[in-house]
Assembly symmetry: none
Homo-oligomer: 225 residues x 2
DNA sequence: TCAACATTCTATCGTTCATTAGAACATTAG
DNA sequence: CTAATGTTCTAATGAACGATAGAATGTTGA
């Protein structure tokens, strides 16, 4: 294989050029602008209004698009009209959107399958839960009776005793990932809670070994309401 | 025009999805990775080497590509193989490069700089090559690395990686007409090979647009050694 | 079980970039 | 000319991102 530095420099330069196009379509507002300009020639103020952006902002984006050669301008009096450079650009944007439609749908589906499949098989480890909580993509609920919660619980967890859960006192958005926990390995509250939540359409899992599992490894436990 | 906040939120969400694809191709190395993965399924270490990047770095980029659904993975033993998600991705990358080629004057300049007088090397069209091969008066050589040849090549072509060519491992009679090809329009292997062969007295030309150019039009591609 | 290897995860650093304010530049109307 | 309008330029800030080091994970073979 060519560790040839000349090849490398050439390739770097070449792909840097390609990336200029990619960069132009790497932001939502710019793609929306390209869509609008594909409809018809438009002024800055016009597209600014339609995209709900300040004019300055819009102007900056259009500048980037022009630097990448995707749009061209025409000046008429005080106004500047923008349009797509040619039909190939229109086709490119269209294909980008088609790709997003098919590929990202797949991503969602696969992710879902993966998560679901894993959910069936394995509860969450304390370690994994800790990581996910840091990432902020999971809500932890303590399904034991209130008193036990107050005596000690995972920091950040919500107190939602199973009784309340059954009465639907707890209704976060369906998109939210939930992790329930209770007393320990042989406590059925968490299992029941997970079953219930899944029936309602949530992605719910339970913490392995409950609160004791969390304590193991010296993790912090909060006390009080 | 709809200053309707619901419309706005919907549009923002929609274009944010599109931008995920755009973001994936907004950086030179990621486009280069997509090009490589379009040739054949590859391991992380493999593409890391070919793109002159540290493995960690490469892994991070591949992660982004996978999150956008453009590539997929397969695990075999300790190794992870990456490949394009489907043909649509290949086509998209191709179109991105074509767009860059036409829209960016700089692309032209850079290309000229490094591949001076490329057209003097008389590229052969796929159609013409096909005719000549049927007539049997030409030898086709694939100058890409062996793995890429095995992943797919023009039927009847010989695998002669440039390294071997330099070491004179390939020595047909001087009377033989040769056509070299590699990855595509921007691949320098074929150009280099043709120059080398001509210096040795052969009548050598290169296939325009390489293997992708052959594929276009639905021509058959052979797989294996 | 250990060791060796491939890859990914986590955290940090430095850079780039989107956003946005303020000033500047054109153009046209009066 | 001045004022009003439309647009761009310059600069500053904050968030996101790429690069990368170090630790962790997972897999294979001894």
């Amino acid at each position: 294989m060519p560790a040839d530095p000349v090849h490398r420099r050439f390739k770097d330069a070449l792909y840097a050029q390609f990336a200029r196009i990619g960069h132009a379509v790497s932001t939502p507002k710019r793609i929306e602008l390209l869509d609008l300009l594909g409809q018809a020639e438009r002024t800055v103020a016009d597209v600014a209004h339609q995209t709900a952006m300040p004019i300055k902002n819009t102007s900056a984006h259009l500048r980037v698009l022009r630097a990448s050669g995707l749009v061209e301008t025409r000046k008429d009096g005080p106004r500047v009209f923008y349009r797509l450079a040619d039909a190939q650009v229109h086709e490119f944007v269209r294909q980008l959107q088609a790709l997003a439609h098919t590929r990202l749908a797949d991503v969602e589906r696969v992710t879902q399958l993966y998560l679901d499949g894993r959910d069936e098989l394995e509860p969450v480890t304390a370690r994994e839960l800790e990581r996910r909580m840091r990432a902020g993509d999971v809500t932890v609920i303590d399904v034991r009776p209130r008193e036990e919660y107050e005596a000690g619980h995972i920091p950040g967890a919500l107190s939602v005793p199973v009784e309340q859960l059954k009465r639907r006192r707890f209704a976060p958005p369906l998109s939210r990932q939930l992790v329930a926990y209770c007393r320990g390995r042989y406590c059925v509250y968490a299992v029941e809670a997970v079953r219930l939540l899944r029936k309602r359409g949530y992605r719910a899992r339970r913490l392995v070994d409950g609160l004791p599992g969390w304590r193991q490894g010296g993790r912090h436990v909060a006390v009080g309401a």
